[in-house]
Structures are given as C-alpha cells and as structure tokens.
Symmetry: C2
Amino acid sequence: MTGFNLRHFAQHGKKVVAVGRNYRDHCAELNNAVPTTPMLFMKPSSAYLTESSGPILIPRGCTDLHHEVELGVVIASECRDVSVDTAMSHVGGYALALDMTARDFQEKCKSKGQPWEIAKGFDTSLPVSRFITKEELPEPHNVVLWCKVNGEDRQRGNTREMVFNIPTLLSYISGIFTLQPGDLVLTGTPAGVGPVKAGDLISCGIADLLQCQFAVAQR
Amino acid sequence: MTGFNLRHFAQHGKKVVAVGRNYRDHCAELNNAVPTTPMLFMKPSSAYLTESSGPILIPRGCTDLHHEVELGVVIASECRDVSVDTAMSHVGGYALALDMTARDFQEKCKSKGQPWEIAKGFDTSLPVSRFITKEELPEPHNVVLWCKVNGEDRQRGNTREMVFNIPTLLSYISGIFTLQPGDLVLTGTPAGVGPVKAGDLISCGIADLLQCQFAVAQR
Ligand SMILES: [Mg+2]
Ligand SMILES: [Mg+2]
Ligand SMILES: [Mg+2]
C-alpha cells in the first residue's frame, strides 16, 4: 500500500507534523502557557538527517541552535478525521528525533508574528534514529527520552508527561492535515532544551532501547 | 533523475515553499511592510488539490477563507545554495496555484506569535493547475495572473511586480532548504485577496494561456 518499507520513512515520507509545548515542564521553561489544543507546525522532508550521514549544520546567522529530543510517530496508513479510538491502528512505528530549533530565529518570528519555517525547517534540522517497530516500543506513553551534549545530561523526560497523548494528537492533526504513509509526527519535547555549538556531540536515546549520536558543525 | 515526470509534481513532489508579501500592492492591502528579505512559509503536499478532484474545503471553524492567486515554480533538479545566475536552470516548469488562506486563523497565529501551518496548510489549501512547460511560459516575469469569484474580478497582477524575482527567491530559499525535483515554490500574490464562501466558484488563470476552476464547500 505504501510502495516503500516504513523503515525508509526518512527517505520517502513527505510530511512532518510537529507539536509544540506538549510537556508541561518545557512550557514552563520557555514561559509559554500549557496549550488547550495542540500547537502544530511542520518541517519539510528535506530537513531529515539520518545517522552517519553528516553533522547537524548550524544555519548561517543563527547564534542559538537548540536541541529538542522528541518521540516521532511514523504513520503506516492514510488517516483523515481519524477517531481517538482508532488512531493507534494507523501507527506503523516510531523514531527518536531531534527537533533542532534556531531559537534566535524563532524568537524573532514570534515577536513579528511571522511563520516559523526558517527557525524549524532548515536543512539538517531533523536528525532521526533508525525506525523502531511497534513491538520494540509496546508502551509509547511510558518511556524515557534523554539527550546529552558532550556527555553531559541535558534532557530526560517520560512520555507519560505529554499534555496530549499520541491518539489525541493523531485525531486532532488528521482533522486538519491528512496523514499519509511515511509521515512523521513529532510529539514534543520535555524540559532541558538548550544550545549547541560547532564541535559539540549530541547523543540521545530512548531508555536503554536505542541511542544515536550527531555531531554539530557550522553550515 | 527524478523518478517521475514533472507533470505529476502534485502527486510526487514533497515540499511547497511559499513566499509571503512579494507584491507591493498586496503588502499594502494587508498593512504589511514590504520585506527586505523574502518571508517564507510552507504547505504540505497533502494540501494539493488538482482540477476535477473535488472542491476546496473550508476548514472547520474558519469564517474568512481567502483566495491568493500565485505563480508556482516547479523544481526540476536538486538545488542547495544555488546562485542567482544559475537558479533558472533548476526550473522545470510552472503551475498556477491558489494559496488558500484561513485569514482568521492566520490573524490569530500572528497575534499570538504562533506558527502559520493551520492557516496555510490544511487539506485542499493548494489548488493547482496542470503543469506548464517552460516553453509555454517563456517570460515568467511578465505575465498577468488573474482570479475571479463567481465571475467577478478579484485579482489581476503582472508578475513583473514581484518584490523578489524567481532566481532571487530560488537562491535565497536554497540557502536554507534544499529544493528537490517536484518541489513547488509559490511566488506570492498580487492585491485583491478576499473571502470565499461555500457554493462559490473560483476561476483563475494566466493571461490567455490557461485557466482553471475550483468550487468551494464546507469541510
Ligand atoms: Mg519541538
Ligand atoms: Mg497589481
Ligand atoms: Mg500567498
């Protein structure tokens, strides 16, 4: 049905829908209110960076590039106006992801009321792990995500702390944007986001299931 | 190289990069300053609506859906950091497009400093014409775009009035987001944007070269 193996979601998937402010402690650290409906934005598929395919590149002009470790949900089958009850049947698997964010660009966009794409969607702004099967992650709402920079702890949060859980997100999103096989939904980041600079090494993982590493360089 | 015929850009293309405020008269009508660098946002490929594939659907909760007629540029070959001088060699052709915009949602996003995707990227927010070859449109910077609603003139502007021309846009965009075969770049809308409601019929065209029609219905 998809025409490709979901393991290759980063190569073939078209759309990445991201959810902002989906962990209370992260809302607090950036002085944002906890949302009453999911706040959505997108990254283009050209932003994907898979392991061993080069460093995360700091966009020209950016002086405050932040890591945001997130659980990504890979869509297996088309969903439009899907119900909360049936949403999980459209999940094909998962990936760990970094929602790399040019925080300085984002602050400027926010203050001017301008779109966020240049802050969120630049090339290499979406490092991802390998595909994770549903069998490998039977409890997606009870797993620890972590992120370290140069070996130092930065983020550690449990997915049970999401404001909107995965089926709620998929139902809401699919009422606006049809989700298609290979699309990725980024489910938000726990507290601890912070800057990286050229030469840094980011490592991130899901509990003991998986970890991956990405170097940082200047574009 | 692309693995598909560019005529099928709407089916296979992954990314749509749109430029806001690229005609002075449109900046003025929405009380926006003329930008000094292109203002970029994106639509997902799930937003495409081709002719004869159903109506434009007004998103639930939207009470001010606007038409914005635009020239779309279809990318033929990958470009990253392309120069202004060589940018046009990456153009495979064109399409006429409507950048349908939930203006009420957009105003809310702007006032809250939130991302624009729900205002710009909902399903059916990107009606497009058939593919137009470069031979059919030898002077993309000197052609009239027009849009009517129920037969009444709404928009009429010449592409020579763009603030940033096509090579300038492609050079700027490709310095941030790698453009890939089948990607579409929307080059902004001239003045005259305005609301449509369920039951309306939008017709739009490029001079006498091409015209297309889209009905409007409630989702
Ligand atoms: Mg995030
Ligand atoms: Mg004009
Ligand atoms: Mg527009």
